[in-house]
Amino acid sequence: MTSTAIDRDHALMQLHQMLLIRRFEEKSAELYTQGKIRGFLHLYIGEEAVAVGVMATLGPEDAVVATYREHGQALARGMSPGAIMAEMYGKVEGCCRGRGGSMHLFDTATRFYGGNAIVGGGLPLAAGLALADRMQGRNRVTSCFFGDGAVAEGDFHESMNLASLWRLPVLFVCENNLYAMGTAIRYTQASPDIAAKGSCYGMASAWVDGMDVDAVEAAARKAVEHIRSGEGPYLLECRTYRFRPHSMFDSELYRTKEEVARWKERDPIELLAGRLRRAGLLDDGAMTALEAEVAGEVEAAVAFAEAGTWEEVAELTRFVHSERRAS
């Protein structure tokens, strides 16, 4: 295969994943207004390049820890769209049997450790997963996603220090979308340069344009290589933007339509599609076919969720404790 063919396949895979996240979430929002999905629903739309770019650099043995805005990470990691949708429906066929919902997606098969809805709460877990790998002599990476809001939490600083002190194989990925819920970073960070905070802990770090999937992937690849070679953890700040409200209950009083419109001009999907078109790797026909394929996947996920069943109430107290003894 020529390198152009490889590049084309890879780029189309990136486009496919980003489009799947976009359409899956648009459908989720629609289903939310219909009452099919309840609870909190946080959409990733606008930030797709971050999850897709980073996931491409991980292997199946690596681990992922994410936040409550994690549909994108779960899909890009290869979790079943049907199992995710069924989870949001609250069906027993969901990835967590309907126990977690949108904010708590987990999957042993892809080593996806949530879905953590305590801001910053996933960072110590990532350090611990990486510690287990190091103590057991496994050359794995734990990729930990968190937002700019988490940077103000003690868990961020404690985990950065621990990971660097013990040279743990953690890729810290800060998805800096400029707002901790509805409060702009200028109101929450004394020093808003997040990547620079790595130096406080002697940790290698960089920032990257989080709207450009190629840039994210290249930066993440460099970071993962650094970690796998035993150089210790890495902090990667991805500067991105959430196109939709924080959750479904957000009147967006804290930012202007003009600001949102400006960022939408750098839509990560259009950015990649445009690049592929200019390179002659994508045309209208291919784009239409891709849209149709993604629409089919989303439709299948919804059908799977619709056909799902409710867990028996008698099962309510299952999984408070393990049903097996540890080995």
Partner: protein, 332 residues
């Protein structure tokens, strides 16, 4: 009777240290992590000598980051290790409460049964050493409120020695509370003492007149009171809960059915407490066995004071326990 030669005297501290050492020898996945557990030898000298024996990977000094290292313990447990995380005192554990409750106790259920957390967290608890109001509280009852974890309270050297391995074999988080006044206590232990069950309460002294339910350091104050009362013709049955979650209802209800009187002695505060929970369970399940209302003797509802006499006055003591029993027997 056990043969004299098969028994030995050991302190509570040594019993815990032996248990940790044995666990490290038995299972490569086990490691100890916490503040000052390595080079310092443990705040209460529990882990003294273990760093030299097992090295810094497995006797792991942590920064002062309770949330960070307890959360890392949870992560390491998810990753296949069997961590023993030591938190210096129960008051400091509040800095890690988020990780203990929102992750440790919750991940299994929230993930639909996919991710269990085989983690043991040990911490010192309790008053009596003039450590004042930020080092001496008894918050075990708070933790016993949380579904998804076990809460253990070893009082004897046998339990201090034997509960750890059973806890490490449990697939879910187990919290072990070690009352700091017990570390220097000596007790006798069978030479071949091994793991003990972590499910049941024990009758530590039989008696037919009144059931005294307690745990941890208050056990010994209660036994002292029971000895004095026996001289007065009052036979108190003293029950050591051992496990605060789950509670072994059957053992104390069976005792109540025999004695018809209950005093609960709890070093925690009274309001919204473990003693309240036990009292409620007795009302629900043993009401018709009672000859008089369940009584409670708890720590005064104040932050633990520094001054020795004030601290002593705040806690249940052998004398106040005996007095509470006498009052009940007089008015029963």
């Amino acid at each position: 009777m056990n043969q004299q030669s098969a028994m030995r005297t050991i302190t509570y501290r040594e019993a815990v240290r032996e248990a940790i050492r044995e666990a490290l020898q038995r299972d490569e996945r086990v490691f100890l992590m916490g503040e000052d557990v390595g080079h310092y030898g443990g705040c209460y000298a529990v882990s003294k000598g273990l760093l030299a024996e097992f090295g810094p990977e497995r006797i792991r000094d942590t920064p002062l980051s309770e949330s960070g290292f307890v959360g890392a313990g949870i992560g390491a447990a998810l990753g296949g290790m069997r961590p023993i995380v030591e938190v210096m005192t129960v008051n400091f554990s509040l800095l890690a409460l988020d990780q203990i409750l929102n992750n440790g106790a919750t991940l299994l259920h929230m993930s639909g049964g996919q991710f269990n957390v085989p983690l043991v967290i040990r911490m010192a608890t309790g008053a009596g050493k003039q450590l004042a109001a930020q080092h001496a509280h008894s918050l075990e009852g708070w933790y016993a409120h949380i579904p998804g974890i076990r809460v253990l309270s070893p009082a004897t050297v046998e339990d201090a020695r034997g509960m750890l391995w059973s806890a490490l074999e449990d697939p879910d988080p187990v919290l072990i509370f070690e009352n700091n006044t017990l570390y220097n206590m000596e007790g006798t232990l069978a030479a071949d003492a091994g793991p003990v069950d972590i499910d049941t309460a024990r009758v530590r002294r039989p008696g037919g007149d009144l059931t005294l339910i307690t745990y941890s350091a208050s056990l010994f104050k209660s036994l002292e009171a029971a000895e004095v009362l026996a001289g007065e013709g009052i036979e108190v049955e003293v029950i050591d809960l051992r496990s605060l979650r789950p509670l072994d209802d059957a053992t104390y209800l069976a005792s109540v059915a025999r004695t018809h009187r209950v005093l609960i002695v709890d070093e925690g505060w009274r309001s919204g407490s473990l003693s309240a929970e036990i009292s409620a369970r007795i009302m629900e399940q043993g009401f018709y066995d009672l000859d008089q209302p369940v009584q409670r003797l708890c720590t005064a509802e104040v932050p633990i004071p520094y001054a020795h006499h004030m601290e002593a006055a705040a806690l249940p003591q052998a004398a106040t326990i005996a007095e509470a029993v006498r009052r009940m027997m007089t008015h029963g």
